[in-house]
């Protein structure tokens, strides 16, 4: 038994490939918890970043700088009354949010956080990812229909049309990246997520910069399509609040509604992971060619610890800047505790074995976080597209551009 547990530690495969059920379960639990935590953190970060872009403070009351706001929100949503409209189709109404969440979380099976840090590596990794994430739209359509109300129905119709349209452009962009994996000596490419990153490692270039600007164009197309796929501003028509009140989830409340939100944010992280894996080198650290060699490896492996230490320093600065007043005492202590935890994590990350294992994950997460920041930025900047304009962008701009980039990549690759 012990052997069963420890044998995996020496292998350089993902637990799924190694066939180690125990470690696969552990990984699933870690990924599930990690993504849930990321969604919660994203909730807070989005509100804070958005607020600062809009000359306001955002949550400030629950905990220091509103750090505990997501928890308060979660509690509120859990204890809220769960309403099912009497005319709704109860079964479908009940299944819809589960479908969205399930689809969003299932995709993480193949997301490679590091060379071995994935639940499993499938031969059809990217295909699986796109396929399962496209099941999420079924949940939205079902929610729109089951609510038996006009606004959700229009929201559901909009979202199905939108997602089906943008999947085409998205798929073509992905294909051009997959095509790049076959530009090696054997001429055989791969659909496996880990394989794609390894191809970038072997070819010594991130696919975003390969055949510049072709790879970059494909990334840009994917970057637009992924925003549309996840129903986020400026493509948030299915839930356009000023037009359709709340679109497909108008009739949802409490826990079910929060499941939709959970699914939406999880899907955002998932598609960002795809973009990072396909074009931005996944877990690879930046500048592997230019800044190569032992010292640089060491410096880059110190980044995770440095990040946490800087965050801890910022939090500590916040502690110093807290008003010296009895009213703020609890908050000050809380913030100091938070700074302490961050600092402690930073120190732990300095220990060499931990450092080496965590570095891959760190770079992956940082790249995904950049995409998540883009999501917030879009939301603060752009008005919402109209439906016909959305379709026009999807079919008349993105699709030809993606197709052109694909053909150009193939031609350049053969030459």
């Amino acid at each position: 038994m012990l052997d069963y547990i420890t044998s995996y530690l020496h292998s350089d495969l993902t637990p799924g490939q190694a066939g180690n059920m125990l470690w696969a379960t552990v990984y699933i639990l870690i990924v599930f918890a990690g993504i849930s935590l990321a969604v919660v953190a994203m909730n807070w970060l989005e509100r804070k970043a958005l607020a600062h872009m809009q000359v306001r403070l955002g949550p400030m009351r629950v905990g220091p700088h509103g750090l505990l706001q997501p928890i308060a929100d979660a509690v509120k949503l859990l204890i809220k009354e769960d309403i099912i409209p009497s005319e709704a189709d109860k079964l479908v109404f009940w299944i819809a949010p589960l479908m969205v969440v399930t689809a969003a979380f299932t995709t993480y099976i193949v997301v490679p956080f590091g060379p071995t840090h994935a639940i499993t590596d499938m031969n059809i990794g990217i295909l699986f990812m796109l396929g399962v994430s496209s099941l999420g739209v079924l949940g939205i359509v079902m929610a729109g229909w089951a609510s038996n109300s006009h606004y959700p129905l229009i929201g559901g119709l909009r979202s199905s049309a939108q997602m089906v349209s943008y999947e085409v452009a998205m798929g073509l962009a992905v294909v051009s990246a997959v095509l790049m994996t076959s530009m090696n000596a054997t001429g055989i490419g791969t659909l496996s997520m880990i394989g794609i990153v390894n191809a970038q490692k072997d070819q010594g270039i991130w696919f975003a910069f390969k055949y510049f600007p072709l790879g970059f164009i494909a990334l840009a197309v994917f970057g637009v399509a992924m925003v549309a796929e996840t129903n986020r501003a400026p493509f948030d028509l299915p839930e356009a609040e000023s037009e359709l009140t709340a679109g497909f989830h108008t009739e949802y409340s409490g826990l079910r509604w929060s499941l939709f939100m959970l699914g939406e944010y999880a899907a955002m992280i998932a598609v960002s992971s795809v973009a990072v894996t396909l074009w931005l080198g996944g877990w690879l650290r930046p500048f592997p060619n230019w800044l190569s060699g032992q010292p640089w490896d060491l410096i880059f492996s110190l980044f995770p610890a440095a990040t946490f230490l800087v965050l801890a320093a910022i939090a500590a600065l916040g502690v110093l800047r807290m008003p010296k007043h009895a009213y703020f005492r609890v908050q000050t202590i809380g913030l100091a505790g938070f700074a302490g935890v961050l600092g402690l994590i930073g120190l732990v990350l300095l220990i060499p074995p931990v450092r080496d294992r965590v570095e891959d994950i760190y770079w992956f997460v940082i790249k995904v976080a950049a995409f998540m920041y883009l999501y917030i930025w879009y939301r603060a900047t752009f008005p919402r597209y109209r439906f016909d304009q959305l379709m026009k962008v999807g079919w008349k701009v993105l699709l030809p551009v993606a197709l052109g980039a694909l053909i150009a990549t193939a031609v350049v690759g053969v030459l």
Binding site: Q54, A233, D236, T245, T381, F382, P383, R386
Partner: protein, 384 residues
């Protein structure tokens, strides 16, 4: 007019086409509780998919019988009520009412009072346009301008509060002049505000004017020609954006607008984008007026000699001013008693709202939102 039916918004809400596959004609009830109808407007939409076949506005949810109240109050007592109509431009409402009653009484406010009135009315115009811009942008999906405009509108409200103690329903003017002398440092505050807000308007424009999505969402949306505007009685920025250079401040100047040097911004196409540009330019012109007015403001009394009990002679008067939303008119009939015999308010929002149907027919649902926003209606004024 032969093509009068073009202007009539009347939905045939008859039987639906009951074929099995062709039943995608949808009747949607938008409002009275809806995030984008700016209050309690209810619009019944007849849709073919997302295309609007026709609309019908159902209003009156905020009807308070202001005109009936007026008949049972004295002239001075009714003054605060007018603030509650267009509650985002209360100063303009008060200005129109006070001037109308003054006309009826045949008195004239002293010059200093008139200058104060102009300054406050123009500040209020800016505040109203800022509120419009924020909510309009929010309707179209841009959240950020809302917070920018509300931050700057706050400064105006602070000036109001310092001047008369109220932020929104100011009741700033009295029949015959102003009740309050300006506070110490009023001019300085106003000039400081003008200097502060001038770059901010550029900031709003930076966010929106060249934003591609904004331009796509507003260009050629809600088109209305100048001829249609006049036929439908649409006034204010909507009329000017359609290319008709008409502003009561210039055409029939009241208060001291005849002494001010400003321009009337006009648009060409009469679409939502032009209306946006016109309102932005109007804010700049208002700043220009304020700057001049503060420079020229004379010393002197702020209240004309009016009797304690107002008893206008028998007669009737119509007086209108250029409110932020268009022509705001007061038609007052006096029977010689202390109470007006009849007060009729000619609300710009009410008349402008009629144009909604013409502007959105054939457009998409999302355009309805944009057009309701661009008409800049305030339901307190529509329903009175």
């Amino acid at each position: 007019m032969s093509d009068a039916t073009k202007y009539i918004s009347h939905l045939e809400l008859g039987e639906r086409d009951e074929t099995f596959l062709d039943s995608n004609e949808l009747i949607i009830n938008m409002g009275p509780q809806h995030p984008a109808t700016h209050g309690v407007l209810r619009v019944i939409l007849k849709l073919d998919g997302e295309k609007v076949l026709g609309t019908e506005c159902v209003i009156g949810y905020l009807h308070r019988g202001v005109e009936k109240i007026a008949e049972n109050r004295t002239y001075a007592m009714f003054n605060p009520y007018v603030d509650r109509m267009d509650y985002v431009a209360a100063v303009s409402n008060g200005l129109g009412y006070c001037e109308a009653v003054e006309k009826l009484l045949n008195v004239e406010a002293p010059p200093r009072a008139k200058y104060i009135r102009v300054i406050l009315a123009e500040l209020n115009r800016i505040a109203s346009h800022q509120l419009w811009l924020g909510t309009h942008a929010l309707d179209i999906g841009a959240m950020t301008p809302l917070f920018y405009t509300f931050r700057d509108r706050e400064e105006i409200l602070k000036i109001f509060e310092k001047y008369c103690g109220a932020r929104l329903t100011t009741h700033a003017f009295r029949i015959g002049g102003c009740q309050y002398e300006t506070y110490e440092g009023f001019e300085r505050d106003v000039i400081k505000f003008v200097d502060f807000v001038t770059p901010k308007i550029d900031e709003y424009e930076e966010l929106l004017t060249t934003n591609r999505i904004w331009v796509e969402r507003t260009k050629d949306v809600g088109l209305i020609s100048g001829k249609d505007c006049i036929a439908l009685g649409v006034t204010g920025p909507v009329l000017r954006a359609s290319g008709v250079k008409w502003d009561i401040r210039k055409a029939q100047p009241y208060a001291v607008y005849s002494e001010m040097d400003f321009e009337i911004p006009v648009g060409q196409n009469g679409d939502t984008y032009d209306r946006y540009l016109v309102r932005m330019a109007e804010m700049r012109q208002s700043l220009r007026i304020i700057r001049q007015a503060v420079g020229k403001i004379p010393e002197g009394p702020i209240m004309a000699k009016v009797p304690k009990v107002l008893k206008p002679p028998v007669g009737e008067i119509y007086h209108s001013i250029e409110a932020p939303k268009g022509e705001l008119g007061y038609f007052i009939v006096s029977d010689g008693s202390t109470q007006p015999y009849r007060v009729r308010v000619r609300p710009p929002s009410f008349v402008n709202l009629q144009a909604l149907d013409l502007m959105v027919r054939g457009a998409l649902v999302a355009d309805v939102i944009a057009v309701i926003g661009t008409l800049d209606i305030v339901l307190g004024e529509v329903d009175r």
